[in-house]
Amino acid sequence: MREFKYTVKDELGMHARPAGLFVKEAVVFPGRITIVKNGKEADGKKIFAVMELDVECGDEIILRTEGEQEEEAISVLSRFLEENL
């Protein structure tokens, strides 16, 4: 299991479009991808689950990757967060 902590800097938070684009990147990995906010977990491969977390600017989230290719997944997806959020 790999984890990456990130504080969202985008003023608008993780709204529909960034959530959708994140999921597109996440689904290519075979393992489990999770986003955690305040202890609430969301399946990082499900756009509505990610949207439901209601991640806003200033929120600290944890990106978690597990299983096959967890190393590659954490690298690609943490970069996505840094570049887009």
Binding site: A16, R17, G20, L21, K24, I47, E52, D54
Partner: protein
């Protein structure tokens, strides 16, 4: 609630339309256009999924299907719907409208609510919103659940009209 039964007797006009659980309907009187024509790359390049877009002719956006509101974004600009067959649809009202932070959007539904095709989701202050945003509204199949969904030809559509085939 008993009022549910009462409603049936007093012929209140119902907004919802009768379609099967697999069908998708027009979200408003509108011109349906290809997603590729939407002036937002994330949608136009289908990064979020396949779908269609609508140039709205009115100020209320309706549910495109029978299903459950899996996600209602607090700003009122995006709605996630899960159909009984597992297909997930995203209705995204306008481009970059997240920036309005809810101003101009009157949300008429709640998260986890069950809706019928044609039920109103949101009322828009079109005058205010159009001053700042391209109000082209996208209907995206964010998860086709391995089903093949095809749409009718582009052009004028009426609200509640079946657009899947």
């Amino acid at each position: 609630m008993l009022s549910i039964f009462k409603k049936k007797e007093t012929a209140v006009p119902k907004a919802s339309v009768h379609v099967s659980d697999d069908e998708i309907t027009a979200i408003a009187d509108a011109v349906m256009i290809p997603l590729e024509e939407v002036k937002d790359d994330a949608f136009a390049q289908k990064m979020m999924g396949d779908g269609v877009a609508f140039e709205l002719k009115e100020d209320v956006v309706l549910s495109p299907c029978n299903g459950t509101l899996s996600a209602v974004f607090p700003t009122g600009h995006a709605y996630g719907l899960t159909m009984k067959n597992g297909v997930e649809l995203l209705v995204h009202v306008g481009i970059n409208t997240v920036s309005s932070k809810g101003d101009g959007f009157k949300v008429l539904v709640e998260q986890d609510q069950k809706v019928q095709a044609g039920d109103p989701l949101v009322k828009l202050d079109m005058k205010k919103l159009k001053a700042n945003y391209d109000m082209t509204t996208m209907l995206i199949i964010t998860d086709p659940n391995e089903k093949e969904i095809r749409f009718i030809d582009y052009g004028e559509v009426e609200k509640g009209q079946k657009i899947s085939r």
